[in-house]
């Protein structure tokens, strides 16, 4: 009989207490260390605005801001994010006042099904602070980690350009 996986004793890791700061609120959770930041947000904090489109860093739907930088939350474990400021799409608006990027997305119809949208918006907000996007072509290139299967790309670029300030189109 070859050594099969059943010969080993299956076990799941123990949980440990993790403290995260999400959208300015500190939360302590008991999580298994293999829990991704994405699943922590969606399942344990009920912040389902952050989407799962692949779980493998291939689509950008799970983009959130960590200390202002955009990352794929499916590629990060929650335990790695202790002590950092995590911002999700739910944390962009100030009360009733939408973030200018959210306003621009509505105005330019920069989405259809809306499923990639939180990731697009977080990614775009991260893009702004990077300060690297100087032209529409830059925006296209630097937003290419966020797939939109609905194909709203031209409108996404228009929305971001509006917020960038120089409507160059």
């Amino acid at each position: 009989m070859p050594d099969t996986i059943t010969d080993r004793v299956p076990h799941a890791p123990d949980t440990l207490a993790i403290t995260l700061t999400v959208n300015g609120v500190e939360r302590t959770l008991n999580l298994a260390p293999w829990t991704t930041l994405l699943d922590t947000l969606r399942l344990h904090l009920d912040l389902t605005g952050t989407k799962k489109g692949c779980d493998h860093g291939q689509c950008g739907a799970c983009t959130v801001l960590v200390d202002g930088k955009r990352i794929n939350s499916c590629l990060s474990l929650a335990v790695m994010q202790e002590g950092k400021e995590i911002t999700t799409v739910e944390g962009l608006a100030r009360g009733e006042q939408l973030h200018p990027m959210q306003e621009a997305f509505i105005e330019h119809d920069a989405f259809q099904c809306g499923y990639c949208t939180p990731g697009q918006i977080c990614s775009a907000v991260g893009l702004l602070s990077e300060g690297k996007a100087k032209s529409a072509d830059d925006v296209r290139e630097l937003m290419s980690g966020n797939i939109c299967r609905c194909g709203a790309y031209p409108n996404i670029v228009a929305a971001i350009e509006q917020v960038l300030g120089g409507d160059r189109r």
């Binding site: 799941a12 699943d39 399942l43 119809d109 259809q112 809306g114 299967r149 790309y153």
Partner: protein, 758 residues
């Protein structure tokens, strides 16, 4: 009540709401993350399921060992064919609204494996992580049998399907003698086209969350294009009554056809919930998104014959498509070639070949997206042989009558599409010769193609409730998969009753709402929109009657057509000073609310005397790197004739998105099968390429004026599909113009261009 067909003139002079570029009414929910999709309803104690997929394409399971998985604390149960409960026996119980002829796939039914990635076990655990871990511990042994997944190897092994699916029409009988006319023609082309299978891959992976009620009722959040379709399926398969199952899907993260049939995650979630009497979610992984329906791989032959002046003398279009061993998936691939151009000698042929793959499934513009590019590339090649401008050739063979049926089109402004599209694009300056434009290392090419899609309508119901606060709620069990259904239905209702958009709410995606057909084929505006209009017309009628009975009524005994509804008021057409607020009318009569329900049915009689379609002309500019063969699509103009456009903003987005889909189909998307394993190898978003932002440049959308009072009471045809049709042909034709290389094998990847350039 069944609404009688009416054409109130307000829709002939659309004003207040219809035709306005209203921003999506659900926009705020989507940009704030508040819109909840099927896999996002969390409840305490929710169980998570993870599916184990077959590693072989054909054969049987000889042993399945779940003991290791079950040893993991937190793994609750593992379902397989060995321990599943007994379920509906007859095939018809497993059929859904979009099922073709055959025996629908039954998950966990028995030990048979009929396609790779087939679900073979479902692990249920207290957390997603544990379920996924448990799934890795399930051991499955198979006895593999030889499989066939190669369409090219099986292209002769075919049969001719019948009317095997709703909406499918087999090719019409031959007209004239196409083979003889082809042999006699001055100029001919006779070409083979191939196209890879494509997977829908909406951004949201298929998910179902089943909330188990204390009384045993199920509230099912499903990713679907038809809440009622899912509800009926669950009730039939699990022998439940409709009162026990409510399916809700207010938001759907894209579908493009993948939600037209209940997918196996729905079955799995309901199975686990009913067996364990707990709430359960099952979500597919991205690789598992390649485990069900897809746009089928296709091999086509198009032969065209023409006289020297470009008049078409012969059209032959033959297609072979894959279907599964258990169902006859069919789509209309070749019929368009008998419809698009005037020609006396036409022979169309459509066949299926059975492969050991899952049954294909409608995908954006099913059939047309596949067949029309073959015709439109052939037309381009014919134009070159004739030395004729490609637009000229199409105009030369233009028809206002559908040659397949002999009926006139209810409307067809394709000429205007050609004219306005060409003008916007700057087509008139084009030289016919390939390789006639370049900039540095880049060869520039311009190509064009025409597109066509149907303009269908189904029966649909809608309910409207107008309250004393002047707020109107309208509802129908349709879906919004990003198409803008919420918004356009709100506009239609607001227009008919002259209400501000903010005072109208439209509800959808709920099996408890009035009946609507599955959302697909661009028929939702036509079907549900007509029902919304009908029910609001009835509310109008009630209000006019109430106003007539009002003491000292400012409207006197005005007839309905003499009353104008605007800004929440009713006024006399001839004398706007005679007006009264809608809520005043209700209050005066002591009416708390006006409630109506209507069914809209197509004008069968009128429709039987007409042909219907949406049409398009696509113009594309590509730049091809002379050394590398890489393609950039720098400009696309898509001119669309689709009747009245209810919302130019959301409609434009539909076309933009569809052009992007056409770019994917034309240049990128390809399910790569390893026939030794019978499996799609590139089953994720890193290897299965879809267009990203950097691939997409200027896309210009034109909606040409098209008046139609036959198609439905709105004169609107729907725009979900037409935008993709023909795009791959325009790109192929542009690439030829740039490089002199013809690629008739989609997608047109770098290797194929390089091969031609050497």
């Amino acid at each position: 009540m069944i609404a009688k067909p009416t054409f109130p003139d307000l829709l002939h002079a659309p004003g207040a709401q219809i035709g306005k570029p209203v921003s999506r009414v659900d926009g705020r929910l989507k940009v704030t993350g508040a819109a909840k999709y099927a896999g996002e309803f969390n409840v305490p104690g929710l169980l998570h399921g993870y599916i184990v997929s077959s590693t072989i394409a054909k054969g049987r399971i000889t042993r399945i060992d779940t003991s290791a998985a079950l040893k993991v604390p937190g793994v609750v149960q593992v379902f397989t064919h060995e321990n599943r409960p007994s379920l509906a026996w007859f095939d018809r119980k497993w059929k859904d609204q979009d099922a073709p002829k055959g025996s629908p796939f039954r998950p966990l039914h028995d030990d048979r494996i009929v396609h790779s990635l087939q679900p073979v076990a479902l692990v249920i655990a207290e957390s997603l992580e544990l379920a996924r871990y448990g799934a890795r511990l399930v051991e499955v042994e198979y006895e593999a049998e030889p499989h066939q997944t190669d369409l090219h190897a099986n292209r002769e092994n075919t049969f001719t399907p019948g009317k095997d699916k709703g909406g499918f029409e087999p090719p019409p009988p031959p007209r004239g003698d196409a083979d003889k006319a082809l042999a006699d023609a001055d100029v001919t082309v006779d070409l083979e086209f191939t196209q890879a299978a494509e997977y829908h891959n909406p951004m949201e992976m298929h998910a179902s969350t089943v909330l188990y009620g204390e009384d045993g009722t199920l509230t099912v959040h499903d990713k679907t294009q038809g809440a009622l379709n899912s509800q009926t399926y669950i009730c039939n398969v699990f022998n439940l009554s409709k009162s026990q199952v409510r399916v809700v899907s207010p938001f759907v993260g894209g579908a493009f056809g993948s939600g037209l049939r209940p997918q196996h995650q729905l079955f799995m979630a309901v199975l686990a919930a009913t067996e364990l009497k707990r709430s359960v979610r099952v979500e597919l992984s991205r690789p598992q998104m390649f485990s069900f329906g897809h746009r089928p791989e296709t091999i086509q032959r198009v032969a065209l014959g023409a006289s020297k002046d470009g008049t078409l003398q012969a059209i032959i279009h033959e297609a072979v498509q894959e279907s599964s061993q258990f169902e006859n998936y069919v789509e209309i691939v070749v019929n368009w070639s008998g419809q698009q151009y005037r020609c006396d000698n036409v022979r169309l042929d459509y066949k299926l070949s059975r492969l050991d793959l899952h049954t294909p499934l409608d995908q954006r513009a099913p059939g047309a997206a596949t067949g029309v590019p073959a015709l439109e590339i052939a037309m381009d090649e014919l134009a070159y042989k004739l030395g004729m401008d490609p637009v000229e050739l199409r105009l030369k063979n233009y028809t206002d009558i559908d040659p397949n049926s002999g009926n006139p089109f209810s409307s067809k402004e394709l000429r205007a599409c050609f004219r306005q599209g060409a003008e916007r694009f700057g087509w008139s300056g084009r030289k016919l010769e390939p390789r006639s434009m370049r900039e540095g290392r880049e060869l520039i090419g311009w190509g064009m193609a025409a597109g066509v899609w149907d303009a269908m309508q189904g029966q649909a119901n809608a309910r409207a409730v107008l309250g004393l606060d002047g707020k109107l709620t309208v509802a129908s069990a349709t879906a919004d998969i990003g198409t803008g259904t919420y918004t356009v239905m709100t506009q239609i209702a607001a227009e008919v009753l002259g209400l501000p958009i903010e005072d109208v709410t439209f509800n959808l995606g709920d099996s408890s709402l009035p009946m609507a057909p599955i959302e697909g084929g661009s028929w939702t505006v036509s079907s549900v929109g007509s029902a919304v209009k009908a029910v609001c017309d009835m509310v109008r009628g009630r209000l006019v009657k109430l106003a007539g009975k009002m003491e000292g009524s400012p409207l006197g005994d005005a007839a309905e057509e003499d009353v104008v509804f605007a800004d929440g008021h009713m006024s006399l057409r001839g004398d706007p000073s005679k007006r009264v607020a809608i809520v005043e009318v209700m209050r005066a009569s002591g009416t708390q609310s006006i409630e109506e329900e209507a069914r809209s049915i197509p004008y069968y009689l009128k429709r039987s005397k007409h042909a219907f379609g949406t049409h398009s002309a696509i113009f594309a500019e590509v730049r091809v790197d002379e050394d590398l063969g890489t393609v950039r699509v720098t400009r696309v103009v898509s001119a669309i004739a689709a009747g009245r456009i209810i919302n130019p903003k959301t409609a434009r987005s539909q076309i933009l998105g569809a052009v992007v889909w056409g770019m994917g189909m034309g240049l990128e998307e390809e399910a790569m099968l390893d026939h030794r394993l019978g499996r799609v190898m590139n089953h994720d978003l890193a290897e299965y390429h879809v267009p990203v932002n950097a691939d997409v440049h200027d896309i210009d959308v034109i909606f040409v004026e098209e008046h139609d009072d036959v198609v439905n009471p709105l004169g609107a045809k729907g725009v979900g599909e037409i935008g993709i049709v023909g795009v791959p042909a325009a790109l192929s034709n542009a690439i030829f113009h740039a490089t002199g290389v013809r690629v008739r094998d989609l997608p047109i990847t770098v290797d194929k261009i390089r091969k031609g350039m050497r």
